[in-house]
Symmetry: C2
Subunit: 185 residues, 2 copies
Amino acid sequence: MAIEENQDISPRQAGLVAQTSILLHQVEGPINLGSTCRAMANTGFQKLAYSGRLSGLESAALRFAIHAQGILKQAQKQPDIDGLLDGLDVVFGFSPRDPWTDGRQLDLDGFHREYAKTLAEGKRIGLLFGNEMTGLANADLARCSWRVSLPTAKTYVSMNLAQAVLVVLWELHRAAAREISSGDA
Amino acid sequence: MAIEENQDISPRQAGLVAQTSILLHQVEGPINLGSTCRAMANTGFQKLAYSGRLSGLESAALRFAIHAQGILKQAQKQPDIDGLLDGLDVVFGFSPRDPWTDGRQLDLDGFHREYAKTLAEGKRIGLLFGNEMTGLANADLARCSWRVSLPTAKTYVSMNLAQAVLVVLWELHRAAAREISSGDA
């Protein structure tokens, strides 16, 4: 029960929160926007930016962001991908597609390794997710430092947007907790 | 990339699917019901049962179960918790509450241990989740072999129902994949 009982925030967890932005490019569904905020609150993340047609004031967004509406209200609305990526040092783009053989494609273990390294270097990190129907286009993926494909069941690789965000944040939250538990922090 | 490239289903993964039922007690939201089906498809699970007012034919349930509607259509609708638990050998109930000191409360690592043991024994396993607003009542938790609290951020422990289901199934799916990767299966 070491994870549960530790009341301190480790340097890694503090860095996780301060250095990491969740980026939703061209998000269309207010339920996905709100659910992303709740997933962020459940895993301890705070910085959100998004592009697309939503205002963040949709009733469904507010309802699904229940008790995480502070994250929604402080989220940065950006006009395009340039705005989303502005000021970030390293961007991980999530997609089940793998269009190029350029050594920048990571599996989940590789993502954990690169994320931990980037975090330790004090860099500002973006986790980029694409539109619900179209995902990240090749032009968006070309802007990413790294591309990550999540290890879903092979029979159904396309995840709901907010569920994909949750899985990634849960992985990072758990990795930070394991570090505390093992005494690394 | 061992996880991604392995095309076989290990005995553990086959057992995971055949022996494990996801149980939603008094689920109210059609979006949660549909999202649960999609989370199951993304992580390779198939057996779903639920109680409550939903029919499973709601348009939002079908929409959020996109490409996982087969799971929704084959789901068992049960009148009450007796129906949900019927025929199962071991039930894990998920709740952030911990009402009793009886040694049946597990953290996530404990859940992995007990689940793996129960799976290896060939038992039929239920993963029980409660209503969106009220969670699992004490009377429901008393029916569980084990109670599990998920290690969320301490500042916000209450997860959306479908997101809680996803986190649990993702943990099991990843544990099975790691076993294949390390050559245990």
